[in-house]
């Protein structure tokens, strides 16, 4: 298993100069970071040359503090039983990414989701504008700077009395003389 992993790492590194390996202790997992321009070619290479024929997942992480979105493509080889994570970063202000649905058609669904939920544009993506949300008027809701509570209060009325529920735990602990540590107070509603 170890040699297999080493072998895969060496092959990817030999073909893609910008592929930076990230430490992963699991024997059947390989983790790479590449520039976003490399994504279509590295995924195509993995699929056609190295037998990673299955696209398990694409996920998106919002690194708000760093001003970037991270896209993680997870591919799987049923022969080697190895997973490869290919990560890339996209600028948050102007998130544009290459479309990869000609490599795996199912990527289309993920890309529609990211377009709707994170506002990432995929060049050349052919799909209807709406995915899950209908008549959505706000900003992309999965971005971390989108305040859902505030939006919900503005859009859907809150019934008065809801505020009471916020310090249930404090009320109970006050009655029983229970100590709540400071770090937990934040979550006590």
């Amino acid at each position: 298993m170890k040699e297999l992993k080493e072998n895969i790492i060496q092959r990817i590194k030999a073909s893609f100069a910008d592929a930076k390996e990230r430490n992963d202790f699991s024997d059947n997992r390989v983790d790479f970071h590449v520039k976003k321009e490399t994504i279509p070619s590295i995924l195509f290479y993995l699929k056609e040359e190295m037998g990673f024929i299955h696209l398990s997942h694409i996920s998106c992480v919002d690194w708000l503090e760093e001003g970037e979105f991270e896209l993680v493509f997870i591919v799987w080889s049923p022969v080697d039983k190895v997973k490869v994570f290919v990560r890339t970063r996209v600028d948050r202000e102007n998130p544009v990414m290459d479309n990869i649905d000609m490599i795996w058609r199912q990527a289309n669904t993920y890309e529609r989701e990211f377009r709707e939920m994170f506002g990432i544009q995929f060049t050349g993506l052919v799909a209807p504008d709406e995915f899950i949300l209908e008549d959505w008027q706000g900003p992309p809701p999965f971005r971390r700077d989108f305040d859902t509570a505030e939006y919900a209060e503005k859009t859907f009325w809150n019934r008065p009395g809801r505020e009471d529920a916020q310090d249930v735990r404090e009320t109970i602990s006050g009655r029983d003389g229970e100590e709540i540590p400071d770090f937990a107070k934040k979550y006590s509603r």
């Binding site: 209908e134 008549d135 706000g138 809701p141 859902t148 919900a152 859009t155 009325w157 809150n158 809801r162």
Partner: protein, 181 residues
Amino acid sequence: MINDKHSQKIVDYIQNWSRKHSIWVLAYGTGCGAIEIPPTMTSRYDAERLGVRGAATPRQADVLLITGYLTVKTLKRVIRVYEQMQDPKYVIGFGSCTINGGMYYDSYNTINVLDKYLPVDVYINGCMPRPEAVLSGFAQLQKRIAEGRADGAAQYKENLEWYRANQKRIIPNWVMPEYNW
């Protein structure tokens, strides 16, 4: 039709009595609460002894059970379903989500207060309410029907503009048919 006050009273009484014993619920589940309906309907709690049973289409149904949170997308369908139902029709709000948003109160796509959009006759609280609570909700509805106080549909007709304004506020692309009831 009947001008005499006393005969009208008797007719109303008979009408409400029969309505209260045949509450047909539309089989339409939203949110997580719908999972409590099968035990309520089947042999353990046997709601049919109260005359409560499932109906296949909105036109055959008397009660619309809103079993939990409603996304804006579902609300659109629910409004359509409600407007297709024929009189007498009642709405039961089921679970905290319909009352004040429940644990989805800060979700970006679920409504918080159901009675701004549809006239609710009975609320059942709980997250989710157990079948006993559901049955007591139905009993409450029966009581209200018998007293002639379950008049949500009439209110909806009367205050249609107010309801429509609320509905259109969160559903900007209004492409629904107008029913001429």
